[in-house]
Symmetry: C2
Subunit: 132 residues, 2 copies
């Protein structure tokens, strides 16, 4: 399962706060039953245009990841919660809303597993998955 959440936030100060973003990536996986397998990497990014700056963060969890990219001058954030295990996406959205105070957001839940691809009709894919 891969939950994608993009939003405008009212707590803009979080978007420029590397410590808060590190703490989220460090602590949140454990709170939703995911196994973190590396320390988070978080840093401030400044683009070629001076309004393009923000904080990017990433943490590996078992065979997947969490990531955050913030756009401070836009009060905008991209969040990815990607896990090979199922998780409660509604809870994650509620937690992100509490943390970031979205003024507007969109979310999408995507099945990334092999099981559903293996079940698809051959016509929908290039050819049959090879048998194992």
């Amino acid at each position: 399962m891969h939950l994608i959440v993009d939003g405008f936030v009212s707590r803009r100060q979080i978007l420029e706060d590397e410590e808060s973003i590190y703490k989220f990536l460090d602590e949140y996986p454990g709170q939703i039953g995911m196994t973190k397998i590396s320390p988070p990497q978080v840093f401030r990014y400044v683009g070629t245009k001076k309004e393009d700056w923000g904080v990017s963060g990433f943490v590996f969890i078992a065979e997947s990841h969490l990531s955050i990219h913030t756009f401070v001058e836009r009060s905008f954030v991209n969040v990815d919660i990607f896990s090979c295990k199922d998780f409660n996406a509604d809870r994650v959205i509620q937690d992100l809303k509490s943390w970031l105070k979205f003024t507007a957001f969109r979310s999408q839940l995507i099945d990334r597993g092999w099981e559903s691809l293996a079940r698809e009709e051959p016509a929908e894919v290039e050819s049959l998955p090879r048998s194992k």
Copy 2:
């Protein structure tokens, strides 16, 4: 733009080859006009079940990322190509097909930008994006 590609591959040896995956994450962003802002991180992962193992890799590009997670025993891979700039998704899919030799795959292209969210009708989002 965020391109998601999941597939079964016939070149299974690539899925366990940390060097090939590092090389892809290191060199491919430049080939499609993306700006890499960190060296890739790539490592082998072994889960609690012995069939759950593979290679995970990640590289930051300007305010977004590329990632790969492989499942060697399933001959399966998850690839994310996420960029705040537009790129030629068809070309990327062709390049991934050449590299990994999919026997079956699915792809999805997702708009992650603030522009489209700012344009959405208030009814579709929690509330109006705050003006800047």
